[in-house]
Amino acid sequence: MNNVRNKKRANKSLPFFFKDEFKVFSVIIIVSTILLISTFSFDTVPPILNRGIQPATFPKGLLVLIIVLTTLIYYLSFKKPWKKEKELPKNFFLTLLSFIFFIIISKTLDFFLAISFLSVFVSYNWGEKRFFYLLLVGIIFPFIVFVFFEMILGLRFPPGIITNLYYY
């Protein structure tokens, strides 16, 4: 009981737009509204096939439902604030950052280079400093995976500076 009161006080000290409840609420509402607006730009059905429900109707209904329910949980959160989560550690943001690097590298340079980079980056930041293990996760393991997918299953990977060494 005491604990709950403490939490309430902790939450109250923040202005409303800093609270998790508000952040979640506003993100869902904004995204849903944008999606809802975009449903109005869906093409229309040629008359001969126009029977029953239009293609935009169902998604519209779902988006309205999401907006209504989100407003409801936001309203309920005034009475019963959510449990306050711990701050996210630096490692989380580094891992998230590595995803962004992954996307950039895989798009511009090479798919497997991106995988190697991410593996070493994550492993190092999570505390692995030994060279052999970094080599293992960064190069040896991705290489085995490449070989398995490429040679045994016969699947082709996207072109890039490293995969092209093999393909061309």
Partner: protein, 324 residues
């Protein structure tokens, strides 16, 4: 903790060994017969297009003495696969499986690729469209099939919509001056067949291979065939043209490469494909999906059919209101 690390180390050593010894060997052996040819498809695993392409690859790679690798580019009803092909050089190191669906995408303007960007190679399958009905239903007789639609709209089950199936149904009823069909789109042929048998819909627009089991055991019957000539396996079923409604439509799958490929390379690819598709593996595949050896034709005839197909689909989709 320690023990797992030792295990790990052992695994790592094994792996490194593999990496150092086996791989260079594998790579050199793979490189020896040249780079693989990319066989581009737009279809998911196990579908008709996927299987046709794989069956073609089976022997073609042997005749070309070069490995071939399936490259899947889904999306836009084949548009993505054609766009992808245009990013490759016209060196005959790729093939694309071109289908009726591609004609639809081109007609709808989903891609800027034109037929003149493509060099036809060979056709694999030519599967006429059929109107399949429940054998308990009177309309299994082609004349009754037509007369029934003079007054009322029949429910046609089609695979998706805005493609060859609903175009077949609508072209047939329009040209025959019949009541517009009620199109019930499905995601696959399975439910079309069960719903036909249950009696929820009247007609299924199918290919022979898709319903051959039910046709042979007498549950489903074919009313009309949209081919130019009667089919060998369905010799008692009239074509639409015989009934005075000139509609000829089929699901086709064939192979193309990018225009500008050197003539000798084109010839090499075409010959290898034809030879591969005349092999008993591909032929027995054709027989089993209800087709015969006439499906396989060379570049010239295939190229002409591609043009006809595109023109026909463009006209039909315009009539339907898909293209303004």
């Amino acid at each position: 903790m320690k023990k797992s690390f030792k295990l790990f180390l052992a695994a790592a050593v094994l792996v490194t060994e593999f990496f150092v010894v086996a791989l260079p060997l594998m790579i050199t052996s793979a490189k020896a017969d040249g780079h693989p040819i990319q066989a581009i498809t737009h279809a998911g695993f196990g579908g008709g297009t996927d299987v046709t392409t794989r069956m073609m690859l089976l022997r073609t790679r042997r005749y070309l003495k070069q490995d071939m690798q399936l490259v899947n580019k889904k999306g836009g009803g084949g548009a993505a696969s054609m766009d992808y092909m245009m990013t490759l050089p016209a060196d005959g190191q790729h093939t694309l499986t071109w289908t009726t669906g591609h004609a639809v995408s081109m007609a709808l303007g989903k891609t800027k690729v034109k037929l003149s960007d493509m060099q036809p190679l060979a056709r694999g399958t030519d599967d006429p469209q059929l109107f399949v009905v429940n054998c308990k239903n009177d309309i299994k007789d082609a004349k009754k099939f037509i007369s029934a639609q003079k007054s009322k709209s029949l429910k046609y089950g089609t695979t998706h919509v805005g493609g060859i199936d609903d175009v077949s149904a609508i072209a047939f009823t329009k040209k025959g001056k019949l009541t517009d069909p009620t199109i019930v789109p499905y995601k696959g042929v399975g439910p079309i067949k069960t719903n036909l048998i249950k009696g929820d819909i009247d007609v299924g627009v199918l290919n022979l291979g898709e319903a051959v089991t039910e046709i042979e055991d007498g549950t489903l019957c074919v009313s009309v065939v949209l081919a130019s000539n009667r089919m060998e396996k369905l010799s008692n079923v009239p074509t639409a043209t015989e009934l005075g409604i000139p509609v000829v439509l089929s699901t086709v799958r064939g192979f193309v490469t990018r225009k500008g490929v050197p003539a000798d390379r084109k010839k090499q690819l075409e010959d290898a494909m034809i030879k591969a598709m005349e092999h008993k593996y591909f032929q027995s595949f054709l027989t089993d999906i209800g087709l015969d050896s006439t499906s396989v034709v060379g570049a010239d005839e295939w190229g002409k059919q591609m043009e006809v197909m595109l023109a026909e689909m463009t006209a039909q989709l315009k009539a339907l209101g898909y293209i303004n």
